[in-house]
């Protein structure tokens, strides 16, 4: 069941992105940037956690979850250390993603040649 939900929710988020590109003529950069902000906003109302409960990877794989995870990390430290905690914790949950993206991106660029 979780697989079906992942497909439906993940697909639906991508459709929203396609509509922003086709209908509202946004560039891909604008779309992903807005999605990250959207993820953070939805987290504030606890909606994103419910979405993850429902759809698993369907909610954690789209870039919206990046905004959600940033805010989640910030809040978990924020509750302990106050405002400074936000800065301490903001990358707590997304560290693995960013690190692997930098590492794999860098290594791939060293190994491969652009194909065009």
């Amino acid at each position: 069941m979780i697989f079906v939900n992942a497909f439906l929710v993940g697909g639906a988020i991508c459709v929203l992105g396609q509509i922003l590109i086709d209908v509202f003529k946004l560039t891909p950069a604008h779309v992903v940037a807005s999605f990250v902000v959207l993820g953070a906003v939805l987290d504030s109302f606890g909606i994103y956690d419910q979405l993850i409960q429902l759809a698993g990877a369907g909610a954690t794989i789209p870039i919206t979850s990046f905004g959600h995870a940033l805010l989640h990390g910030a809040m978990s430290e924020g509750h302990e250390h106050g405002y400074l905690g936000i800065a301490i914790g903001i990358f707590k949950l997304t560290s693995a993603g960013i690190t692997s993206a930098i590492l794999f991106g860098f290594l791939t660029a060293l190994i491969f040649k652009p194909k065009g």
Binding site: V15, A57, T60, L70, G78, I86, T94, A109
Partner: protein, 149 residues
């Protein structure tokens, strides 16, 4: 009347190719959904075989997808797939990896420091900037509200 410089951009609309909205959305839906299903498989795999919890399995899952997307970018496959899938391969975390790897790869000829490393975030940087700024602002507001009430 097309010979009207002031309203030209409106008047040419009938001449522009029709964007296949429904077909594009369908492609984005299927391809984006499939990437998430692969992610779900990975998540289950990491929970069962490497004893991650449901919450912590997200880390190796994204890392694996990022690795796959980086390699596909290096092999010149990711942009071919994106011609079909549109937002379906831009919105998932694989698109984030593609934007990093493609920018780095593009500038490889300018050297490892000034080319690859400097340009790594030329496209993906905006995602991190907007993510951090929005999370920080919302975090401060929530903390303020939690302390005030």
């Amino acid at each position: 009347m097309l010979n009207d410089p002031k309203n030209y951009s409106d008047n040419i609309k009938p001449y522009l190719p029709k964007v296949p909205y429904v077909r594009n959305c369908l492609k984005a839906f299927v391809s984006g959904g499939l990437i998430c299903v692969i992610g779900q498989f990975l998540q289950v795999f990491y929970i069962h075989f490497f004893h991650f919890t449901k919450a912590s399995a997200g880390n190796p899952t994204s890392a694996t997808l990022i690795l796959i997307a980086s390699l596909m970018t290096g092999c010149g496959l990711y942009d071919k797939i994106a011609r079909f899938s549109g937002a379906g391969s831009i919105v998932p975390v694989t698109g984030f990896a593609n934007s990093i790897t493609s920018a780095a790869l593009e500038h490889k000829s300018e050297g490892i420091v000034l080319g690859v490393a400097t340009n790594l975030f030329s496209l993906a940087g905006s995602v991190i900037v907007f993510g951090v700024v929005s999370a920080a602002v919302l975090g401060i507001i929530r903390l303020f509200l939690a302390q005030a009430f």
